[in-house]
Symmetry: C2
Subunit: 697 residues, 2 copies
């Protein structure tokens, strides 16, 4: 089935079957028919129930096979084995698309996985595309196609709008629908993807990119499934100019745990998810109000704004709340630009050097508000403008907010925060396509999301691009330190000079070549924590010490790790610098190949202080990672510290991230990576490379 | 005037004068009369305006003195010098209380300070209590006493309720009023305190403690003025059982800057403000919705709950959002307690070990919801319960929320989050006195505030309790290191053994007594950063070194600080431990005497990682400070590190905080304070003590 046909069957079917329809309109199985009829579905509806003749004025069929005409979309409300039977019937009847309401599949764990695999097999063999299982259904308000059991469809009517929702949570579809209504925001489509056994967020999202009724796509996420399809959708969204905005559960560890138990899927760390979303050009909000209210801040605008926001207010306290919340999110709230200050002075309005223009006294004069915003929009010091409206929004919407309609679709994001509860103004602004917010928190959250929104980076993918002719690292195996360092060197990362000594004489000779002082470490791919077992010694100056320490290290290693294969002792230069970092790589089960940078040691853990990006990482992103790690402030010259060679560190990050070109490598680490003074480069001192988990793992 | 008479004049006057009343009802000066008449004010109203005969059907007087009867409360809407004249008239006419609307006083800076002092002088001499200046007025909805120009009073009617608002922002009074109406929350009183020239948050709050119509007091704060009165009010609030909940602007640095420019007052660091609020038993929310919706979570409950919350939900996604937001705020979201799990199993409802009870399938059955909440309320594993209601809240409020009325006033905090927009349920719950929230963020914020709420600590005050007979430290002066350490020793803090040497021979003798190795440092109260000028040397073992270093240090100090008076060289033991901290004390201009604990050095700054409390600090609070500093994790035994002597460190914090008993000491620091292994104590190695800023500062 091509995408166009799938989209039609999924979103705008001409004929639908309600499998397991109930004659009791109060039961979940009775709802969809009632909803379809209430919301004016124009297509043909076939209730399927062998025990009833007619439901809702329509003839009931015993099963799908007995329906006399083709069905585009079947909504299966049965549970247990009856789901399988119904899906078989769909296949036989040539149904294009089936939505499965029931749970008890992969999200339930255990035998649920097998049941879901069975569903998928039946669907694939029968050429039926599947939404769910565990999906509350699909709602297309404009077509009255409310193929869903969601109780929120009891609403007397549904607004339509140009924002689509794709949700992994079924119950949130109803919540979003009701909040949209209350905020005068309608939707083009709402889709509950459930377990994504077949149709995933990525594939549904991709269909919406070709949907003429949709401008912006909102995602409510619990996890990330089918990440490559997901990423491809998000990247194509930029090509077609449709912003994608996500809310993701699992920012806290208890939230991650719950998402895992709720979906049966990996929740992933929030840091990894954030990197995935950012890398693929998906904007992210942290508040649910922000998600609902953000779309108009994005529509008709390209990504990549600066971080400077001007705030104008007709209420001191309301404006100050917005400024404070912007500041908390790291947004640069600008002082009044000089030209705007002059404009205002011409009206006798003095502005001090504050980070807000308080028009309280001039509040009721729309022409001043308009002139001020025009000035701010034109000012080169601003990247976005927020207007905060006080009590006039409550009683004089025509004066207070109509002048603001002008900035619909302006190049710089423009948002309005209404300090009082003021529904008439909210409605007018929403209908005029202006982003309007009810709380300072949601306003700052959405503005932050809009300004942080960027075009996607280079596609992240595991490939075999790097040295495809090289020997592969077998599953369950690791490289010893010397081979690991050689691999990093092959990627273009400077490594500490070293040599592998099999006996004390070799050790002394290598040390002589390198020059004192040197470090001696056991060389074994099977000993990962060398220091802990006394198999590392630093600062060795003379030949006698080297001989003695060689023997000591080998004997310690043999005593503490009697089964490990020992390759010898690594003799290495003692590298010194102005700081050091830890650079890690892994194929994250949720988001794929990724690189992490931290200070290393206990501080990285205590302060959760690291930067993570999907691999491969570009140079600018590598520099951004270095900026992000707070503990690297001294390397950035904080308080007069000697600056490290950050450009060289950034290049090392870029090079290291090319491990994504080695499908056989699942994890790697350089720790420490010594950073020398600016201009003097970096040097990798110790490292680790692991293959795929072994079969025993 | 006693408090009762003041409260009556301020909140429930029998007679009011509107000074500067305008006949144009659209102008701010025309509003109060219109509002008083609209909202049914029963007292007598006297408009004052020499240019008009009648306004709103009432006789207009030329000035206050010509009003034939006593005035309780005058609302002065004039500006400029006319304010002074009107206040003089108030004094002459025996007006009890005057509210001044005009700005341009202390908040404007410069000459505004003088004008405000003049106001205050006139009021004090005339026996008039003052609200403002820069106050939008006072609203008492039950009495229809809307003595305010706030445009929100155009509302057709005002709900009444048992929550009072005291706001430093005038415009927020209207915003809170409108949001309260939209959430079915009425207020008992709303007071804009403006610049607090006379009546302050503390004094107005204190009056509300005796107000029979008020159960809970909300504060909207930009700064803290008259802190001792403020603290006294907050502490008495606990005695009378009225919770005080604050929202404070200035969590971000731009917010602090704006608050400063907006109020003309010091904003203070957020950390200091947080310490002040917590110390005085004031709960604090971070979201404005949280402020409006929190009161019912506090009313009828004592402070001091644990941190364990149970979440029950009839919507998976909605419940998960609450759990996630609770987790972000450090709340312990509990797993289903065994007895509740058994109860549910009896109904055939399986609960896995998740941190939420998902009753989606049983959602429509009120008896199960009720039984589950009853079980959770009774469980010893929980300190509070949150119920999340899904779509049933929208269409079946009677089924969905009426069973929840039962937990009004329950001993454990009980909150409801409505996942959909569901105004009918919101109204029912609000009217039934149940805390109900519209966003997961506000719900988690308010719950966090309720659980973190504690009874006040020991009153914080600067006194002369410690050694009142000792010589005072003069303004502009500092103690040298030796005297500083002696002061700390006198407070009961162990200090490094040391002696002051005036020559090399004394230095060698002292070193001999102490035992090698020793440290030599310049001793001068005028050299604060000894290390920077080469005037500290550590690890000296023998007499020759001591002689050489003594001379070197003295010559470095003379070269680098030629005008400093040098007392000699301090010879000190080299103390070693398992870690070290910085302990600081200062009289903060906003919150008063306070103690700060950090790791010291660059990390404390980079990670903003310190704990702050008002002084004096009790032992439990000192232990809590140690827990709070993330960088002290190794001292707490993180990852197998040797534990430090934390009880001894806590006692040192307690002792150090007694500096609040020395009015002459404005700042002090022990840096470093070495922490030895558990059981071996602590030792102060270096310190600093400063008097009040000098006249040149």
């Amino acid at each position: 089935m091509n995408a166009g046909n799938l989209a039609r069957a999924l979103f705008a079917p001409d004929s639908v079957a309600l499998v397991g329809a109930s004659a009791d309109a109060a039961k979940p199985g009775g709802r969809p028919l009632r909803y379809l009829q209430r919301h004016g579905f124009k297509g043909r509806i076939f209730p399927i129930n062998p025990r009833v003749d007619r439901i809702g004025g329509l003839t009931c069929h015993a099963n799908l096979r007995s329906v006399p005409e083709p069905i585009d979309h079947a909504f299966i409300m049965l549970s247990g084995d009856a789901v399988m039977t119904a899906l078989h019937d769909c296949a036989e009847a040539g149904v294009a698309c089936a939505t499965i309401l029931a749970g008890g599949f992969a999200e339930a764990g255990g035998a649920g996985h097998g049941r879901q695999a069975e569903l998928l097999r039946i669907a694939a063999e029968g050429g039926v595309r599947l939404l769910g299982p565990n999906s509350i259904g699909m709602i297309n308000p404009a077509a009255g196609a409310t193929l869903s059991a969601n109780a929120m469809l009891d609403l007397p009517e549904l607004s339509t709008g140009r924002t689509a929702v794709v949700s992994q949570s079924g119950s949130m579809v109803g919540a979003l629908l009701s909040h949209g209504e209350a905020r005068h925001v309608g939707f083009s489509k709402l889709v509950s993807v459930g377990n994504e056994a077949d149709l995933s967020v990525g594939e549904v999202g991709d269909l919406l990119l070709d949907d003429d009724a949709t401008d912006v796509i909102l995602l409510f996420l619990e996890t990330i499934r089918k990440r490559e399809m997901f990423a491809a959708f998000a990247r194509r969204a930029h090509q077609v100019g449709k912003p994608v905005i996500a809310y993701k559960l699992g920012r806290s560890s208890v939230g991650q745990e719950l998402a895992r138990s709720h979906t049966g899927a990996i929740a992933g760390t929030d840091q990894a998810v954030a990197a995935f979303l950012a890398h693929n050009g998906i904007a992210r909000v942290d508040t649910i109000d922000g998600l609902i209210e953000a779309p108009r801040l994005f529509s008709d605008r390209a990504p990549g704004h600066g971080n400077r926001v001007a705030v104008v207010s007709t209420t001191g306290g309301g404006g100050a709340m917005v400024v404070d919340n912007l500041g908390l999110r790291g947004i640069d709230v600008v002082r009044v630009p000089a030209p705007v200050r002059e404009q205002l002075a011409n009206h006798g309005i003095g502005t001090d050097d504050a980070r807000m223009i308080d028009l309280t006294m001039a509040g009721a004069r729309p022409e001043i508000v308009r002139e001020t915003i025009t000035g701010l929009m034109a000012a080169e010091q601003t990247d976005a403008v927020i207007m905060v409206v006080g009590s006039s929004a409550k009683f004089h919407p025509e004066l207070a907010v109509e002048p603001l309609f002008h900035w619909r679709g302006a190049a710089k994001p423009f948002a309005v925060f209404l300090a009082p509860d003021a529904d008439a103004s909210l409605a007018r602004l929403a209908k005029a396509g202006i982003a309007v917010f009810r709380t300072p928190e949601a306003c700052a959250d959405a503005m932050h999301a809009a300004l942080a929104w960027r075009a996607p980076g280079q596609a992240s993918k595991i490939s075999d691009a790097v040295a495809p002719d090289r020997p592969r690292l077998a599953a369950g195996h690791a490289l010893n330190e010397r081979d690991a360092l050689a691999l990093f060197a092959a990627l273009g990362i400077e490594t500490a000079r070293s040599g592998l000594a099999e006996n004390t004489e070799q050790a002394r000779n290598i040390a002589k070549q390198i020059g004192a002082p040197v470090v001696l470490k056991i060389a074994s791919a099977e000993i990962l924590h060398k220091s802990d077992i006394g198999a590392v010694r630093v600062g060795l100056e003379n030949a006698d010490d080297i001989t003695a320490v060689f023997n000591e290290i080998v004997s310690n290693a043999k005593a503490m790790a009697p089964t490990a294969h020992i390759d010898g002792v690594l003799v290495q230069e003692m590298a010194a610098g102005v700081g050091q970092v830890l650079l890690g790589y892994k194929i994250d089960p949720l988001v794929g190949p990724s690189v992490v940078l931290g200070v290393g040691g206990v501080l990285t853990e205590i302060y959760r202080d690291s930067a993570l990006r999907l691999a491969p990482v570009g140079y600018d992103d590598a520099m951004a990672m270095i900026e992000e790690v707070r503990g690297l402030a001294p390397l950035r010259g904080y308080r007069g510290a000697k600056r490290g060679d950050l450009p060289c560190l950034a290049r090392a990050i870029v090079n290291f991230s090319e491990l994504a070109g080695r499908r056989d490598i699942h994890e790697a680490e350089i720790n420490p990576l010594i950073v020398r003074e600016d201009g003097r480069g970096i040097v990798a001192v110790d490292g680790l490379v692991l293959g795929a988990p072994g079969s025993s793992a």
